[in-house]
Each structure stands twice: as C-alpha cells, then as structure tokens.
C-alpha cells in the first residue's frame, strides 16, 4: 500500500501514530513541536495536557502498564525534552513500552546552542532502548514505525524520536509499506535449545523443595495461564517480585506472597531453604536477593527471561534460557509430570503460622490509624478489584503486603527506578487507558507533593481517580532507615504538608480527611461515589516502620521481624 500525495512532516507524525493504533497522547506543547500540535487538531487523537513533562511520561507509562499498549508522549525541545528523562528512566527499568516524540530546533541550528536546544538523543541513550534524531520529513515514518517495533519487541522499553522543526514543516510522501521495520528483528531470541529444556525438566522432576519466582515478565509475555499450569501441575508454590504482584493471583493456594527486602518471613525463608528456584521473567534485583553470596545456598536455579543479558548477571544459574516465557512453558508443560509436594507446602505453612500473630493487620488499632490497616481495608472495600497505582516508599510496601492483587495489571508501581511522584500521573494514564476500571492512587505525603499539580490535569480531562494520601509527616522510608541504621538522626525527613482537603477542593477535587479507622469505610464509599477525582488524606501513625525487613546487604533470612504482639522487641531475627 503506497499512498500518493504529499504530507507535511507534522502530518506524517500523526499519520504514523494512527497507523500504530494510537488514539491518546500525553504531552505539553512548545515552540519546536508547534507544527506537530498545529497538525494534530485534524486527527482523531485525544491529547491529555499535563502540568509537567515528567508527568506526561508517567501517564504514558501508567497507560501502557494498565493496557499493554504502547504509551505515547509528546514534548517540545530543550527543557520540555529534559523533563522527560526521569520518566524514561522509570519506564526503562520497569520495561514499559513507550514512544516519546520531541520537537527539536531547526536542523540548521543543531549544535549551535540555539534557544531551547538540548542534545536529547545524547542525553537519553542510557535511558532508552533506542532513539532517533530525525532531520528530514521523509525519515519520520520509518523512524516512528521502527520506534514502535523496538518499544514492543523483546524486553519492552521506551524509545525517543527527536524531530527537528524543519522536518515537521517540510513535505514528503507517505509510503507505509516501504517503512516496514527490520532492525528490531536482529535480536529476537534464538530457537529454544532442547538440551536446556531437558535439563530444566530434570531439575524440576528431582526437586523436593522447589519455588517459582514470579516476575513482571509473566505479564509482559502474557504467560499467566502457563505459569499457573506449571505451578499446579508440579505442585510448586510461587513467590512474587514487587512488579510480579498480580501476574499470578495473590489468593491462589500456591501463592506465597512477595519476596525480598519487605517480603514476608516465610517467603524469604522458603527461598533460602529451597532446593530449586524457577525464576520466571524476573532479574534477581538486589532488593529481591539480599546478600548474593548467601542467597538460596541449597538451590539449583533455572532462569527464564527474554533478556539474555539478565541471565547469570547477578545470580549464577544452572539452566539459563533466553526466550519468551510463554513459548518456553508451552513447550515444557506437556512433558511435565504431575507431582505432589504437599510435604514441602506443609512446611512453609508452618512457618507462615508464626507470622500471623505478628501481622499488623491482626493487631488492634487502639485509637491509632495504621497505614497497614488502610491498605487492608481498601482491599476489602474494593473487593481486591481496583487498579492500584502506588508511589514509592513505606506506603508502597504496605500496599504490596496488604492489598491482595489477583487481577493482571492491577498494581502499577515504579519498582526498578523507585520514582517518587509517579503515582498520580501514572494513575491518570491508567484510568485513561481503562475507563471502566476503578483506579486508586496510593501515595505518601512526600511523593504526592512532587506531582500534585496533575490534579488539575485529572479535572480538566474529567479523569475519575481516587487518591489515598498516606500522611505520616515524614519521608517515611528514609526516616525508617535513619531510625534503624543512622541512630535516629532524622536529617531532612520531617516534611510539612498543605491542608490536603483544602488543596483538593482548590483543584475541584473532592477532599476528605480520615484520622481513625472507624471513619475509613464511609470516606472510601463517599470518594467512590463521587463522579470526579476524589482525595482522602489518611493521617497515620507517624513513626511506624515496614516489617519484615532485610537490611540492605544482609542475607535474605536475616530479617528484622515485626515486633510481636506479646514481646515488643525491635529486632528479632529468624
């Protein structure tokens, strides 16, 4: 198919985006991208005007994670483009497919330090899968087509296309077929190695105490059914990474819960005692492994990930398979014998029993409001069916521990980068992608103050998100580290907040405040019933800490447990 006629470069941008199935972009106009914005009004594209370009990236990220589609960002040159960097890094570390289109000064001005000229392709090399500087109209379509192919293929990630103003203004023909991308196919995984598969099967057959480590790659591969089939057929429990939450259901009988630094004690203990780890679409991040030398010392390891550079990177493994997870499991499953590992499961269940008495959600609130109670009640009141978008810090960990995610793509959080300010904009993107879903922001008072200007975006765009601000008056996770590892010197962690209720109302957002658990359910009901964005400030216990905790650099079994209800010991290693 070759369309005749000639288009401006600006039109070619939108022609390309439409052909890639894009109907929504998140952006902010400016001089160098103005031709593209001028052309946009003739196309059936929803443009969400943000209040800061970083938020545009997070919105596109939330949009992509909630839907599985590619998120699209548009920004101008110079500061517009540099403001994207944090958002691109966030997407890169969490493997979100994203295409960012930036305007650039005219090609004659490149390299002259012209007004709003910044070398954004140079700046973003380490935080994108690939990027392009396009200086001619005829190169726009091939660049955008390839950008989408690269963003989607293999391990997904962000791609930036920087287009000079004159390329947007000059004319070229549109030949979609001739621009069919090729280069992303260079690095597709090799065919499955039958020997590696046979070794993996052998290890699984022989294992007495196996565990599946379930990561984000399960959702990216669409391999939920296959992973569940593996777990059920071979009777293997699964532990989840933070980004793996929701990839397989939390309430499944074989689900252990989250692993790692703030994973439950029985999960980490099971990993340390296991004789086989089956790592699926995860990357043995330091927050997951603790001290590498003492990580899962008795276990053989099988690692399946589409990114070959992740294999044998942090943890040396016995069988490494670089391939799409779904493909591998579909090949393995028919050869996998049914097994019964009830003894192993019973052992883990015994370890688990001890933790229940320490579990904060089982403790009386005695007049205080605990963040853990807020998460637990939110889960109960939304029947676990909401899409929850969290920021970064203590609330993020409490959410991961107490909101049981069953549905795929039901938790959106900045795991790899740990980007504060992510939650509100990402939630707006998620709600735009899935208007029928109930979307909750869970943010701390610190992170929320980084990007709360996007409340206005939610109002302008009529995006109904519910917002829980967990206000403890501190940058809580840093305060917790100061309390535990810096002798309680709270350097720069006490933080003042505005009156969040008045703030919300100033934006036209419903505002409420909850200070005791008894008022929580009514406030949540009122927020959910409100047609527009609604915010609830939860004034929680100020110096509460997230337990269990594996201190940075400690082995996974050296956990600081929750203070027991009976003995209030601060530190109680397993």
């Amino acid at each position: 198919m070759s369309e005749s006629g000639s288009y401006t470069g600006a039109q070619l941008i939108w022609e390309s985006l439409l052909r890639e199935g894009v109907d929504t972009v998140f952006g902010y106009p400016g001089g160098a991208i103005l031709p593209a914005y001028d052309a946009m009004v003739s196309y059936p594209i929803r443009h969400v005007l943000v209040r800061h370009e970083q938020s545009a990236c997070h919105m596109a990220d939330g949009y992509a994670r909630a839907s599985g589609r590619v998120g699209v960002v548009v920004a101008t040159s110079g500061p517009g483009a540099t403001n994207l960097v944090t958002g691109l890094a966030t997407a890169m570390l969490d493997s979100t497919p994203l295409v960012a289109i930036t305007g650039q000064v005219g090609s004659a001005l490149l390299g002259t330090d012209a007004f709003q000229e910044v070398d954004i392709t140079g700046i973003t090399i380490p935080v994108t899968k690939h990027n392009y500087l396009v200086t001619r109209a005829e190169d726009i379509v091939p660049a955008i087509r390839e950008a989408f192919a690269v963003a989607r293929s293999g391990r997904p990630g962000p791609v930036l296309v920087d287009i000079t103003k004159d390329a947007q203004q000059s004319r070229a023909a549109l030949d979609w077929e001739a621009a069919t991308p090729q280069r992303h196919r260079r690095h597709l995984p090799a065919p499955l190695d039958p020997e590696a598969l046979a070794q993996a099967l052998d290890l699984i057959r022989q294992a007495k105490r196996p565990i599946i480590l379930a990561g984000h790659g399960i959702q990216l591969s669409g391999a939920r059914a296959e992973v569940l089939a593996l777990a059920e057929r071979a009777d293997i429990p699964f532990a989840l990474t933070l980004l793996g939450l929701g990839a397989v259901p939390a309430t499944h009988p074989l689900s252990l819960g989250m692993m790692g630094m703030h994973g439950e004690s029985w999960v980490n203990r099971a990993i340390q005692e296991a004789d086989l780890l089956i790592a699926l679409g995860m990357r043995f991040d330091d927050r997951v492994t603790g001290k590498l030398k003492e990580y899962a010392p008795h276990a053989k390891k099988i690692h399946i990930d589409i990114d070959a550079s992740e294999l044998n990177k942090n943890v040396p493994v016995d069988v490494a398979i670089a391939a799409d997870l779904g493909d591998v499991l579909r090949t393995l499953l028919p050869q996998l014998p049914v097994a019964d590992r009830s003894g192993w499961l019973e052992t883990i269940r015994e370890w688990r029993g001890d933790s229940a008495v320490r579990d904060i959600k089982n403790l009386p609130d005695d007049g205080h409001l605990y963040a853990a109670h807020v998460m637990h009640d939110l889960w109960r009141l939304t029947k676990g069916e909401a899409v929850v978008v969290t920021d970064v810090g203590q609330h993020q960990m409490w959410e991961a521990q107490y909101y049981k995610h069953d549905g795929e793509r039901s938790l959106i959080t900045s795991g790899g980068a740990g980007t504060m300010g992510f939650a509100l904009p990402a939630a707006i993107g998620a709600k735009v992608a899935r208007p029928d879903a109930e979307v909750w922001v869970v943010a701390g008072d610190g992170g929320f103050q980084m990007t709360f200007a996007e409340l206005m975006t939610a109002v302008q765009e009529g995006v109904k998100v519910n917002i829980a601000v967990i206000n403890n008056g501190y940058l809580g996770m840093v305060r917790q580290w100061q309390a535990m590892f810096y002798e309680g010197r709270y350097a720069a962690t006490p933080i003042l907040s505005p009156d969040f209720v008045k703030l919300a109302e100033a934006f036209g957002v419903q505002g409420q405040r909850v200070e005791c658990r008894g008022d929580l359910a009514a406030a949540v009901a009122k927020a959910r019933a409100f047609e527009g964005a609604a915010l609830i400030e939860f004034k929680v216990e100020q110096e509460d800490s997230v337990y269990p905790m594996v201190p940075a650099g400690a082995a996974l079994h050296e956990m600081i447990r929750r203070p027991s209800a009976l003995a209030e010991t601060g530190s109680d290693p397993v």
């Binding site: 392709t121 899968k129 690939h130 500087l133 294999l311």
Partner: protein, 191 residues
C-alpha cells in the same frame, strides 16, 4: 590505551561487532561500555566490504563472565547486527604503532637495527629523532615499545587491535539475512 612496561598483556578477549554505519553508533557502544563498567583495552572501528556496515574490534580487559555480559549487552543495541567473540577461535590480531624515538647520534644505528629486527619501517628521520612504523600482534608491538623505551620515546600513537578469525568462514556471508535498515537513506537519521 597502553600498558606499563612489563605489564602482562591481558588474555585477549577479542570481540568483533558489526554495526550500522550511522552517526552516533560509536557513542552508543562507548556509552554502554562506560555505564556497565567494562574495561576495554582498545576499540577500533572502520568500514567493511558491505556498504552501510561498520566493523568494530573491541579488546576487552575482563574475565570471561564479564565478557559474556558485554556481548549480551552489545547484542541489545538496535544498531548492532552481530557480535562475535574470537577468543576461542584461531585468529589474526594486528595493531599498528607509530613511534618517535630520540636518536642522539651515538645510538642512531642501534635504534635502526632494532627496528629492523622487528621488521618495523622507518618512515621519517629528523636530526635527533626517527619515526618508526610497525604492524603486528599486541605482544610484538609491546615488545618493540619496551625495547625502544631506553632510548627515549618522544611520542607514540597506536591504533588498537583489528582482528579477524582465521579460515574461510566470514560472519557476514554466514548470516546473509542480517537486516540493514529499510526506508530512506540512513545518514540523516538516527544518532
């Protein structure tokens, strides 16, 4: 980059990397190497027998595990068509050096004789110095440099290694399907 005298030449982990011949590809490779902390001994780049295709020779100064990581990371770059590790294959590795050596009249003939032993060419003679050109393996070049050092090396320029596997097999012929970019001319596009 070069070695201090007497320092052992690292076990040559030699990578041959085929890339698009586009502006900025070297930046991407260099950025990757810097960011992931791979130590490189040398990196050379030049055109190939095929238009649009560049060839890099990278000598990596790391253990086998790190080198494997470097290969996998390089393979993720969109501009990289293929990475071949030559370490475990018979190969030819060549480096070129230009040396300006001080030659007081008393030692001039000795310097010229030594150059001959290394089959190095004298490409310039000045009143008190000569410029010597020599091509060879990394070890041979190192030995030449060490032997000239006592006379006084005034200036040295090395190209870094260029390497090729021995035998008839060539990577680009073996993998004819490696796609080059499509669409319009590449030079204006892509950093």
């Amino acid at each position: 980059m070069t070695h201090a005298p007497g320092q052992q030449v690292p076990g040559p982990h030699v990578l041959v990397v085929y890339t698009d011949d586009e502006p900025g590809v070297l930046t991407r490779v260099a950025s990757l190497i810097r960011r992931r902390g791979f130590n490189i001994h040398s990196l050379t780049v030049g055109p190939t027998e095929r238009a649009g295709l560049s060839r890099m020779t990278i000598v990596v100064d790391s253990d086998a595990q790190r080198v494997r990581q470097a290969v996998e990371h390089l393979r993720k770059l969109v501009n990289v068509l293929e990475v071949e590790q030559l370490a475990d294959k018979p190969m030819v590795v060549r480096d070129l050096v230009l040396l300006r050596v001080a030659t007081a009249s008393a030692v001039r003939s000795e310097v010229l004789q030594l150059a001959q032993v290394f089959r190095a060419a004298v490409v310039d003679i000045a009143e008190d110095s000569v410029v010597i050109e020599c091509t060879g393996s990394l070890a041979k070049i190192d030995a030449l440099v060490d032997s000239m050092r006592p006379f006084g090396i005034l200036e040295m320029g090395r190209t870094g290694a260029v390497a090729m596997a021995r035998g008839t097999r060539t990577l680009t012929k073996a993998r004819p399907a490696l796609p080059l970019r499509t669409g319009t001319s590449p030079e204006a596009m892509s950093v």
